[in-house]
């Protein structure tokens, strides 16, 4: 399974991958992790690989998270997209949902709380 983590913060990308590895244990070896620091790089990775799950920040340079989601959905792709972001403004959250985000996780969150919110995507994928 190929998984893409998109965040302009290397710290956050590391934390998300850590949480997944800690919770999936040896099953994490069946995941190939891709990282991108903005939506444009993420799009390039997405188009060249068979990404089955995306974790995505909103505020990023070059191409932001919602623009990335709109581009993906415009092709008819239904890959699950989890937005992990510091944006808490309700109007903007609705924008993300309308764009096609499947799940929305607010920062600060890590460890067990983060897994509570994202674990089902791995269970659905049989991991």
């Amino acid at each position: 399974m190929q998984l893409l983590i998109v965040d302009d913060s290397e710290l956050m990308r590391t934390i998300v991958e850590q949480v997944i590895r800690e919770n999936l244990k040896e099953a994490a070896d069946r995941i190939e992790f891709f990282h991108a620091a903005n939506g444009r790089d993420a799009m390039e990775i997405f188009q060249k690989n068979d990404i089955r799950l995306v974790f995505l920040d909103w505020n990023m340079p070059v191409l932001d998270g919602v623009e990335f989601v709109r581009e993906i959905r415009s092709t008819g792709n239904k890959v699950p997209i989890v937005m992990i972001t510091s944006v808490t403004d309700s109007e903007r959250i609705l924008q993300a949902a309308a764009a096609g985000v499947n799940s929305y996780v607010e920062k600060p969150i890590r460890g067990p709380q983060l897994w509570d919110q994202i674990g089902m995507f791995f269970r659905n994928a049989g991991l």
Partner: protein, 146 residues
């Protein structure tokens, strides 16, 4: 006007939830330091009020934060600046919910050095508070037009 207390209380909450640091003591800073140490991040806020929020974190503070997050290479400049920027980004985002004044915010930028001045606008009001926990020390500054 943006309420400094919204950001100060959010900082406490973010440091507790994200890094596990509680029992931060604090003191208001009536006068800003002339020189700053270690890492400083800033985010511009826009909307009905325009302002800038600054977060200065001592070197042991950033290292402690990243150790608690199990981040490797925690002493590298790049990671320290990333951590300071992301912490402020999370504070600004989480405070959005509790702020009576709606605002948008920029991407964070970060600086690192041994002793450097920060360039504030002369006409702005600055509200600042220092938070301390053991060797962890951070200064939060809200700069906004009167």
């Amino acid at each position: 006007m943006l309420d400094f207390e919204v950001f100060a209380s959010t900082l406490r909450n973010v440091f507790l939830q994200f890094i596990g640091i509680k029992d931060l003591t604090s003191e208001n800073l009536p006068k800003l330091p002339e020189k700053f140490q270690s890492v400083t991040s800033r985010i511009d806020l826009s909307g009905k009020s325009s302002a800038t929020l600054w977060l200065n974190i001592s070197h042991p503070g950033v290292v402690l934060a990243m150790q608690r997050l199990n981040i490797p290479n925690s002493d590298e400049d790049r990671m320290m600046m990333d951590a300071a920027g992301e912490l402020l980004n999370i504070i600004v985002g989480a405070a959005q919910r509790n702020s009576p004044v709606r605002y948008d915010f920029s991407l964070p930028s970060a600086y690192k050095g041994d002793s450097y001045p920060l360039r504030f606008r002369e006409t702005t009001r600055k509200t600042a508070r220092r938070f301390i926990y053991d060797e962890f020390e951070t200064i939060l500054i809200l700069e906004q037009e009167d």
